[in-house]
Symmetry: C2
């Protein structure tokens, strides 16, 4: 007997790096199918990686019956804060909203709309926020007496690369965030609590200067940029456009969550929990996390669990294609 | 305004290493209180680490109104398979049942009884099964194209230590399981799939021989013991009883779950997810995981979610003392 399961029908809003990674990431999950990509640009102007159909974003509201989960792939700065609540009332949604400080208010905005529409929205998935949040929560619950530290990198920070590109005389740039080994070791011993930003991460910049630009001035401006670089030891390397293209084209990233805690009658036993990721493509990995949570959103909505949720509100089993029986037999 | 919250009332069945670790682990969680420890031995004969009350195990059934969650700390070989279903009908329970191959049938037995009693039972928590199971599931859901490997150690295997102690002429022994570095590195590259047991872990034994025992014969018998040692490179070191007591008294353990997976249009991007723990006390850490899941069992039962569950059926937030608002503000 064959059981023909309906595939989960996915829509993608926004066709930048993340949208493209969701597009091909979906091909790894044969319980899902991509209905289309929605963009603010002219649909005809876009050629997709996999031949997926493209629609104008204004057409999404006419396709509520054709899409089970809408994946929001716009930017966290301006796109998602507006699109999240807007689409949450008509679709189940998943996003990777990553402005940590504004997550509480974003949650409220999405929750109101998704409850109203009897939809399910999972916000702030990806890896940080996302898998790192999950690991911070588990680790703190297991080792209540302890300290948690998060490190990022080695990897490309898009925000810092963009900041360098805004410096006058800079043609292009890539910035790598690199965790400092001695800080990681201190975190494993529970001794990183008082370390400064400078002691935790360093920043390495590869900069293509415009012809005739004052490199000393550029370097000085980068190193003293508040918030982005002033609090870190920053290296600036000037390279050619060809070298940037050849050696720094990718978007690798990674990082780790470390918790050290103590147990025992007199706190005599030390324990370290470490969750570490090493990624050749930041957008691909982020997309794959979001896709797994799209499966969860679909299932939760079928069960009548409406409203906005964060990643820690979702039982891990909802992310897996495996049945409960298979999980008990092969995973537990 | 003060809100006086009722503490979660905990009982412990079994007072071995794990029961003792749960006893003092509970003191790290001030939303819980220990009602008592239940034993098959004569209650009066037991002096507890923290002054906790001791009852005979037969008295548990008269205390169903006094205990919110019963933590089962007996052995997985004979105690838990019997006690799990028995207590699941009268109490919410949590256990660390770790006979992987029998988890499906144990689940069924517990589920039938806990549904009947409208109780909630979380089975096979701890770290493997437990946190490692959770991490295997997440990692496979995120990277569907990939391989997962689990390594154990460096740490003391109680089962292997016991096996050595059963060899004629052996007075006492400790066995350390040690993962092989080259296998870990291969796993991070996704190339460990075909490695044999011997290529993944090695075993180091510290043995106290009885006076006049034939050490060559003991060493030979250990190294050729089927299932336990024959498939591994095993070192046997004979040491004095004093040295064993001085240097090998603890129960450290640890291990890691590694998943390598690929993404991209042509599987061109490599990713590695690693969850690693390093524990000075195996029973303390196991107890702390179980305690966090006891909190979840209590909450799920209050919500009317009855029956047996495994760790992947529980949303991470149920393990934490933090409120949903605090989690969104500080953890996500």
């Amino acid at each position: 007997m064959y059981i023909i399961m309906d595939k989960i029908k996915i829509g993608i809003i926004g066709y930048g790096n993340l949208g493209k990674s969701v597009e091909h990431g979906l091909r790894q999950n044969d319980d899902m199918e991509l209905v289309g990509i929605f963009t603010r640009r002219e649909a005809k102007s876009i050629k997709t990686l996999t031949g997926a159909q493209v629609f104008h974003i204004d057409d999404a509201k006419n396709m509520v019956d054709k899409i089970d989960v809408m994946v929001l792939c716009g930017g966290s700065m301006t796109d998602i804060p507006e699109q999240g609540p807007f689409f949450a009332e008509m679709f189940n949604t998943v996003d990777g909203y990553d402005t940590h400080a504004k997550i509480p208010q974003y949650y409220e905005a999405v929750n109101n709309k998704s409850l109203k529409g009897k939809k399910t929205s999972i916000i702030s998935s990806g890896w940080d926020p996302g898998m790192f949040s999950i690991n911070r929560l588990y680790a703190e619950a297991i080792l209540p007496r302890g300290n948690t530290d998060t490190f990022w990198g080695k990897g490309v920070s898009q925000g810092h690369s963009d900041a360098i590109r805004r410096v006058s005389g800079v043609k292009d740039a890539k910035q790598y965030t690199i965790p400092i080994e001695s800080a990681i070791e201190a975190a494993k011993r529970g001794e990183a609590l008082d370390l400064t930003s400078r002691e935790r991460h360093r920043r390495v910049c590869y900069v293509v200067a415009e012809d005739g630009a004052d490199k000393n001035k550029i370097e000085d401006e980068i190193k003293n940029m508040p918030n982005y670089f002033a609090d870190y030891d920053t290296e600036v390397h000037f390279i050619s456009e060809a070298e940037l293209e050849k050696n720094h084209r990718g978007l690798p990233h990674g990082g780790m969550v470390i918790r050290h805690g103590v147990t025992g009658l007199d706190n005599e036993n030390n324990h370290t929990i470490e969750y570490k990721i090493d990624l050749e493509s930041n957008p691909d990995f982020t997309a794959n996390v979001i896709i797994a949570f799209a499966r969860a959103a679909y299932r939760l909505n079928k069960e009548g669990s409406y409203g906005a949720k964060t990643v820690v509100d979702i039982a891990p089993a909802y992310l897996s294609r495996l049945s409960a029986e298979e999980i008990r037999k092969n995973i537990i």
